[in-house]
């Protein structure tokens, strides 16, 4: 059962990567920029949820909602202050700005919340009849154990993917986002406010980052100011792997990456797991440079 165990854990980790990758891929699709501060928004979300739940003793769901609101506002603020003034600047300038914002957020977190690790509470448990705490379910007479965190993570990922796909394919704003991602000047000629659309994209990506932060810290409960950076880079890799700009690509890339990482940890080596992940990325990009589901736009002249 250990293989099945690993695959389920991989899907769960991959679900978190996928939710984070959505933020990268949507922002890239519309603003054509890599928002490297996205990983740190996750960390901020996790801290906000942590303090709301532990210091203020709020209900877990309310804490998550507060974290989402804070991250959404943070995402919009970052975009307006740091990226919007650079809308027509060379992409390298924007990239460096994004790295700057990332360091700014990490150091702000160091200042506000100190480098001492916080132990993130486990929201996903219930008290059994005999008074003991249950954190998961046992299947096959105890040979396969799945924690509630794992189940909730996978479920949340599915719900987000379905909701976002419906929104982008059928919603008026979703269609406007697709139009902006293809051709901003023409979108303006249609009456679409491109700046607002970009803000909405940042808002959605950052709100989702808060959820990802809570799920990540529920599964791996050590919270420090750099908590978001490695998962952020992995999720960025997942977005490229699946085809950056593509929402289904973010899901496929995230899940694939998560499963490979956990399998590599279980069967190859814990230290080498990241190397294996990135080796697979390189191979995929050599064979299909636009990523698994990335598409080339066919232009007719």
């Amino acid at each position: 059962m250990s293989l099945l165990d690993s695959i389920i854990n991989g899907i769960s980790l991959g679900s978190i990567y996928a939710i984070i990758a959505l933020g990268y891929t949507m922002v890239y699709g519309i603003a054509k920029m890599l928002n490297f501060a996205h990983g740190d928004v996750i960390m901020v979300g996790a801290y906000v949820c942590f303090f709301a739940a532990t210091r203020f003793g709020l209900n877990p769901l309310v804490s998550v909602l507060i974290a989402m609101v804070v991250c959404t506002l943070l995402g919009i603020t970052i975009e307006k202050l740091a990226y919007a003034p650079l809308r027509s600047a060379p992409s390298l300038a924007v990239l460096i700005t994004a790295i700057g914002v990332s360091y700014f957020l990490q150091n702000l977190a160091l200042l506000l919340w100190s480098p001492n690790p916080k132990v993130f509470p486990n929201f996903f448990k219930k008290i059994a009849d005999d008074g003991s705490e249950l954190t998961g379910i046992n299947l096959f007479g105890g040979s396969l154990r799945i924690s509630y965190v794992t189940l909730v993570t996978i479920l949340v990922c599915v719900v987000i993917m379905v909701a976002l796909t419906v929104f982008i394919n059928n919603g008026k704003l979703g269609k406007a986002m697709r139009a902006c991602s293809e051709d901003k000047d023409t979108a303006r000629l249609m009456g679409i406010n491109v700046n607002t659309t970009i803000s909405v994209t940042f808002a959605i990506g950052s709100g989702l980052a808060a959820i990802a932060g809570v799920l990540l810290c529920s599964a791996y409960p050590t919270l420090v100011p750099t908590t978001g950076s490695m998962p952020g880079i992995k999720a960025f890799t997942a977005a490229v792997f699946g085809g950056i700009g593509s929402v289904p690509g973010a899901l496929l890339g995230g899940l694939t990456l998560g499963v490979i990482e956990i399998l590599a940890k279980a069967y190859i080596s814990t230290q080498l797991s990241d190397a294996v992940v990135f080796a697979v990325l390189i191979i995929v990009l050599l064979v299909k440079p636009s990523g698994l589901l990335g598409r080339k736009i066919n232009e007719k002249v």
Binding site: D185, R188, G191, I297, K300
Partner: protein
């Protein structure tokens, strides 16, 4: 009063003085054409009217309102639609989604009747409504771009080089459609390199040369003018 009045606008691309103080007007119900060679400033003029570019000096009055400081995305809801150069349909969206984008500023209740009108005018688009626009032929994409502009029920429709890159038979078809639109009451500002065709359907025309208007007259006058014949109509 004219529906569109352009007064002494100067437009720059960085240091390049692209439009040098031109003025012209379009009355309601007219087809007016701007002709001229590549680089004369025709497209720049249209982009400036639709708010994608901004004049350094001079002003543009549409339907009695000064467009100064009005952002591009607000201009379409005032009744001014543009069919951009090179068609610029959203290639990864379906035909119907492209048309819906054209009606982005319209109230939801009116979209289905606008769609019906466009499908009636372009039955080809109706057949392909679920198809991705990138799979359409060049002529079909031009029809889609025109249909998309019509979705906003514009008072003035600006067409930028609608015949560019199309086979001669399709060029004729596109000009027939423009004539039909005019006959059904649309006001049209047409930018073309195909001066012969454009002048033959236009009420009035302006000839642009390196950012200046050098001649103006009715379509027939310009078609018969010796200097125009020599410069734009191949002798």
């Amino acid at each position: 009063m004219a529906l569109l009045e352009v007064n002494y606008i100067n437009v720059y691309y960085g240091a390049i003085h692209a439009i040098k103080g031109i003025s012209f007007y379009v009355n309601e119900g007219e087809i007016v054409t701007l002709i001229g060679a590549n680089g004369a400033g025709k497209s720049t003029t249209l982009k400036t009217i639709s708010g994608i570019m901004h004049p350094a000096t001079g002003n543009i009055v549409f339907d009695g309102k000064d467009l100064h400081g009005v952002p591009a995305h607000k201009i379409v809801s005032m009744g001014l639609a543009q069919v951009p150069e090179g068609r610029r349909v959203f290639l990864n969206m379906t035909v119907e989604e492209n048309l819906e984008m054209g009606a982005y500023t319209q109230p939801n209740g009116t979209i289905s009747s606008s769609l019906e009108d466009v499908y009636e005018r372009f039955p080809r688009l109706k057949e392909r409504r679920r198809q991705i626009a990138g799979t359409l032929s060049g002529g079909e994409q031009q029809m889609l771009a025109m249909g998309r502009a019509l979705m906003s029920r514009p008072k003035l429709m600006m067409l930028d080089e609608p015949s560019m890159g199309l086979a001669p038979i399709l060029v004729q078809q596109i000009f027939d459609i423009i004539k039909e639109l005019h006959a059904s009451g649309s006001t049209i500002l047409l930018v073309e390199q195909n001066a012969q065709k454009a002048l033959s359907i236009a009420d009035r025309g302006y000839v642009l040369e390196t950012g200046n208007i050098v001649t103006t007259g009715t379509g027939q006058e310009l078609l018969n003018s010796d200097s125009i014949k020599k410069a734009y109509l191949g002798g």
